[in-house]
């Protein structure tokens, strides 16, 4: 077999059939017309019978001239004449039909891709603006992008990833705006990637990031073609995969995760305000539980005396220290969120009602948690979901426990130490060699406003 692979001449229908042994859906046909005959071989399940009929079989009988037919096939867009036996199998499994005409093999593209059509966005909804989502078909996705980005600078490179899944991946970038260092690094990481199965964009994101222990996402995984286009215009690179409705955008900075696509549709002040709200939301969700612990257990003197008394009053019946109370309620809330995510649509509202209303009410009435705690937990939960991109919102969700633990250990000092550590850690992160978090605004001051793409 090794010998066969090395010698190009030895590709024959017999050999291909041997390789595709036990393929119940393999079609092997001989077409015979008065002027001659051709052999046709394809895998039925991934080829389109319409294409086979209309473009391969019908012309053969109509032309009735093998030489002309050969020319026709060889020059048909999408057909290939291959010499390498490895590639032959790739093509056959990728939905090509093999036609043997006059001792020549021609591979004819007849792929049938079963995908859902362009649908509405599910995970990143916005109020105004386009609502197309990327689909699971790479060609459709490219169409969605190219239509929105009509520039000759938009380059695309394609490659196959995964030994078994042979997933098609496309790297898209704007040649005049992209950082070529990042591009080279991405190419290198993709080409050294060794996996068997690649099915989701998130998976690829995990493989191409170098550091193993990390809490923040270093690439945006998005399903919005307009976000991809917006980021391409900013000089970023998009990686799109066939069979998944998500694209990966890189390199990113921390701020990118707080941009919703309708910020630019809003009036400038409104857009800024919305972004500020989101950042405030992150601060709240990170700090509120920790500050509650610090203020009740360590430093009640910090807040106004009325507030301190109010909190103490609401905690009068609570039989354990504040951090236990906070942890119990936060974990409860996580259960609720997780459960309502997994439940079938019909039961979802029941879970939230039972959990939110009844448990919350009953818990305070029983004196297990203070009233203020319930308010706080709902604020934390709601503000957590203000982050437009899911990956980041999950990271923040996990991180708040770190703050609670620090506050439980050393009070206010712990919260401040955590804040400094959190900021420094963010600053030490790099996304494909580019800084992840710093005062980008000050960098732009010096270089006199080269407006690229569409900064919000």
């Amino acid at each position: 077999m090794m010998a066969e692979q090395q010698k190009a001449e030895e590709i024959s229908l017999q050999w291909i059939k041997g390789q595709l042994d036990n393929f119940a859906d393999l079609e092997d046909r001989q077409l015979t017309a008065p002027a001659g005959s051709v052999k046709l071989l394809y895998v039925k399940s991934i080829t389109d019978p319409q294409i086979i009929n209309r473009s391969i079989i019908a012309p053969f009988y109509e032309m009735n001239d093998p030489a002309a037919y050969k020319e026709y096939l060889a020059h048909y867009p999408g057909s290939e004449a291959v010499k390498d036996s490895k590639q032959v199998l790739d093509l056959m499994l990728g939905g090509y039909a093999c036609v043997e005409v006059e001792q020549r093999f021609i591979f004819f593209d007849a792929l049938k891709a079963e995908t859902s059509s362009v649908s509405q966005t599910m995970t990143e909804s916005i109020t105004q603006g386009p609502s197309d989502a990327l689909t699971e078909n790479l060609a459709v996705n490219l169409n969605l992008i190219r239509r929105r980005y009509q520039s000759a600078e938009l380059k695309m490179e394609s490659m196959l990833i995964g030994n078994i899944s042979r997933t098609k991946a496309a790297i898209l970038y704007d040649d005049s705006r992209v950082n070529h260092q990042v591009l080279d690094e991405l190419r290198e990481r993709l080409s050294t990637l060794r996996v068997d199965i690649l099915q989701a964009a998130g998976e690829l994101e995990k493989y191409i990031n170098s550091d193993k222990v990390r809490i923040f996402p270093k690439t945006i995984v998005t399903e919005r073609p307009d976000r991809v286009v917006f980021n391409l215009a900013e000089g970023k690179i998009a990686v799109m995969l066939d069979t998944t409705g998500f694209a990966i955008v890189l390199p990113v900075i921390f701020n990118d995760f707080f941009v919703a696509m309708d910020d630019k549709i809003q009036l400038p002040f409104v857009g800024r305000f919305l972004k500020l709200l989101r950042i405030l939301g992150v601060a709240m969700t990170l700090w509120l539980p920790a500050l509650y612990v610090a203020f009740t257990s360590y430093n009640p003197e910090i807040v106004r005396v009325q507030i301190a008394l109010l909190i103490a009053g609401s905690r009068a019946t609570v039989p354990y220290p504040s951090f236990v109370e906070v942890l119990i309620m936060l974990v409860m809330m996580e259960f609720l969120t997780e459960a309502s995510l997994r439940l079938p649509r019909a039961i979802g509202p029941t879970a939230t009602t039972v959990g939110g209303l009844i448990l919350g009410q009953a818990a305070t009435a029983a004196g297990l948690v203070g009233n203020i705690m319930i308010i706080l937990v709902s604020v934390v939960a709601i503000s957590n979901f203000m982050i437009p991109l899911n990956m980041m919102s999950f990271s923040i969700r996990v991180l708040k426990y770190l703050f609670v633990i620090a506050a439980a250990a050393v009070g206010l000092v712990g919260v401040v130490v955590c804040l400094v550590g959190f900021t420094m850690y963010l600053c030490s992160q790099r996304s494909f060699g580019q800084p992840y978090f710093k005062m980008f605004a000050l960098d732009r001051l010096g270089s006199s406003g080269t407006q690229k793409g569409g900064r919000s």
Partner: protein, 366 residues
């Protein structure tokens, strides 16, 4: 603008931090004996030091102090010099940590043990100081952006307070016609010595230039004057000497009428805790980089350099834990000795730089 701004942040960090350290106490002790002329002299000297050092080190773009010294001095001389400088940075960081632990114990959480507070500080600082130099700079800038508004708010709030006694300030001004004394000058120049961190950070700021030195002079002078006058305005010309952490007592005297937090102390504490943690990180980062530079260089950052860093930072932390046994008076004396040592260290470093530059200059145009 792009890279030179980090020099300004380093300067600003030290200059704001002087409030915390022993600087206000040294100045206030000498308030009837020429503290004010010392401040003026320090502003001039400090700016001069800063400008000379920054201009000289900018002549060696992308080089740390060690690379520069290696061009002109024998190896046997460099090692003790570097160890001396590194110990200066180590002490600068640990004094800040020690005083902040003391402040925390006094003002914020008297019931948490000092052990756990200092350990949480040390863990954070060791974690942050191991990052690469650029990250430390980014982080410093970010955190300064968070706390500067708070500090400005505190200062403005302090100045517009109707109970601020301008009479005391005017009275103390009548004592300004005195010869400056060395101790106060040494203390006051601390406010300007943030540039000293460039010894390492110059390596990552190749495009750094020294511009607008008057900004540094004005800013440094303003901070020093505020450091000196505001406590006097609150506690009076005599009462001011009764406080150990003068500025924290001052902040505790300010009330915010309309906010969730009523005492200015906590806002001030939050800002200064953040600032001092950042400053310790920066100082120890420099100290660590200087010491790791002594080991033979390796191409990539591998496991053994990781251990070296940890060992060095562990040593710094160990010294801090040992020195925690000093009481308030000993710590103060130690701080004053440090203020002197630092000043002479700066002077020595500038002279060394001058010499290296002269050597390099002669080599280029023989």
């Amino acid at each position: 603008m792009n890279q030179s701004r980090y020099v300004y942040w380093m300067f600003l960090m030290n200059s704001l931090l002087n409030i915390l350290n022993f600087v206000p106490r040294e100045l206030l002790d000498a308030r009837f004996r020429g503290a004010q002329t010392s401040i003026l002299v320090a502003a001039v000297l400090g700016t001069a030091f800063l400008s000379v050092f920054t201009i000289l080190i900018a002549k060696f773009p992308g080089k740390s102090i060690q690379d520069i010294l290696e061009t002109a001095l024998p190896k046997g001389l460099i090692i003790p010099l570097i160890i001396m400088f590194a110990s200066l940075w180590c002490v600068a960081g640990l004094i800040t940590i020690l005083s902040f632990v003391d402040i925390t114990m006094r003002f914020v959480s008297p019931d948490t043990g000092p052990g756990i507070v200092i350990i949480s500080f040390l863990v954070l600082v060791c974690f942050c100081a191991r990052m690469d130099s650029l990250s430390v700079l980014y982080g410093m800038e970010m955190l300064l952006a968070i706390i500067l508004p708070l500090i400005l708010y505190a200062i403005i709030k302090a100045l517009v307070n109707p109970d601020f006694s301008w009479d005391s300030v005017l009275q103390i001004m009548t004592y300004s016609a005195h010869a400056p004394d060395l101790k106060s000058i040494a203390a006051a120049t601390f406010s300007f010595s943030g540039y000293f961190n460039l010894a390492i950070f110059n390596r990552v700021l190749p495009k750094m230039k020294m511009k607008h030195s008057w900004v540094y002079a004005v800013n440094g002078l303003a901070v020093l004057l505020l450091t000196f006058y505001v406590p006097i305005g609150y506690f009076g010309t005599i009462g001011v000497e009764k406080h150990v952490y003068t500025w924290f007592s001052t902040a505790d005297s300010i009330r915010i009428d309309t906010f969730l937090i009523e005492r200015m102390l906590f806002i001030f504490y939050f800002a200064y805790l953040t600032l001092s943690l950042v400053s310790v990180t920066v100082h120890w980062h420099v100290g660590k980089e200087l010491l790791t530079g002594l080991f033979p260089r390796k191409q990539a950052k591998n496991r053994s350099t990781g251990w070296q860093e940890l060992a060095i930072l562990g040593m710094f932390s160990g010294i801090t834990l040992i020195l925690m046994r000093l009481d308030q008076y000993q710590l103060n004396e130690f701080g004053v000795v440090f203020l002197y040592a630092r000043w002479f260290g700066e002077l020595l470093m500038i002279m060394l730089l001058c010499y290296c530059y002269a050597v390099a200059y002669r080599r280029r145009n023989p």
